[in-house]
Symmetry: C2
Subunit: 154 residues, 2 copies
DNA sequence: ATTGAAAACATTCCGCT
DNA sequence: AGCGGAATGTTTTCAAT
């Protein structure tokens, strides 16, 4: 992984649909060289995937909440994680340090759905209680941070 | 927004680099029809963007933390939000209900960097104190949830 | 709003450096 | 590891429906 790879990654984080020709122009390489590098970045697991980002309320998911999961004394974290993964409304799941074992982000259509979702969460074996923080607005989300200074990616 | 649009959105969430021809085959439309629909979804703000997802530790950002921001009595939330946005390590920023005004997700290289970042956060005018939850592992993150049942997107 | 055709463009493979 | 050429496939525009 050299500076060129990092530039390519930054460009693909900014625009996941950039063509190899575009990327080549940006970093000063031929399209085929970029193609080869991106292929290696993908198969080595640096680039995990490409996703369209959708405005949640446009797809009927206007309610977001961050929920801390308190485990029971005998909880198996792995089983809890699997059960959390089975709930479609759980968008992200973090195993955390502290007296909560997980923090999850859920997206649902309405507060009624949130209530139902909390019911499902609490019914998971190993979950003692939940602590819910409702998101009022998302200022920004998933911003690219390449790890170093230069972020001039148009 | 009809069922076809939703199918296209789901496919682009699963694979942000799918070609219009691919999408057309998947939903039973010509590439040009898909092109037109996607263009409308983009300009109407349903599709916000396309991003490559990168393994954070591969780009030297192995430490993730979720940080609650407690405001001072006289804090201006908007000013705090702007200041949070200026910190490159703050990847996401949610305005929340409760006694914390924001919850942010930060990604840094090391716990030393986390300490420095917390210093920067606390120095923001309007920030009284922070509550930090260190992420031990990310089980999953940013999973697509189309809002309804069928999620059979290969 | 969708199509099919056509031109421009991008991808992808391969031999060469 | 990168380049350029060539074949194939895709994007993008447009007239027609």
């Amino acid at each position: 992984m050299d500076a060129l790879d990092r530039q390519i990654i930054a460009a693909l984080r900014a625009n996941g649909r950039a063509t190899y020709a575009d990327l080549g122009r940006k970093v000063g390489l031929s399209a085929s060289a970029v193609h080869e590098r991106v292929g290696k970045l993908e198969s080595s697991g640096v680039i995990v995937g490409y996703h369209a980002v959708v405005d949640p309320s446009s797809v009927g998911l206007g309610v977001t909440a961050l929920i801390g999961i308190h485990p029971t004394d005998i909880a198996d974290d792995n089983e809890v994680a699997v059960a959390l993964g089975e709930l479609i409304e759980v968008e992200s799941c973090y195993r955390v340090a502290g007296d909560e074992s997980f923090i999850v982000k859920v997206r649902v259509a309405t507060v009624d759905d949130l209530e139902r979702s909390l019911g499902r969460l609490r019914r998971i074996p190993g979950v003692a209680r939940t602590r819910t923080t409702v998101v009022l607005s998302t200022r920004f989300e998933g911003r690219p941070n390449t790890g170093d200074e230069d972020d001039d990616v148009t």
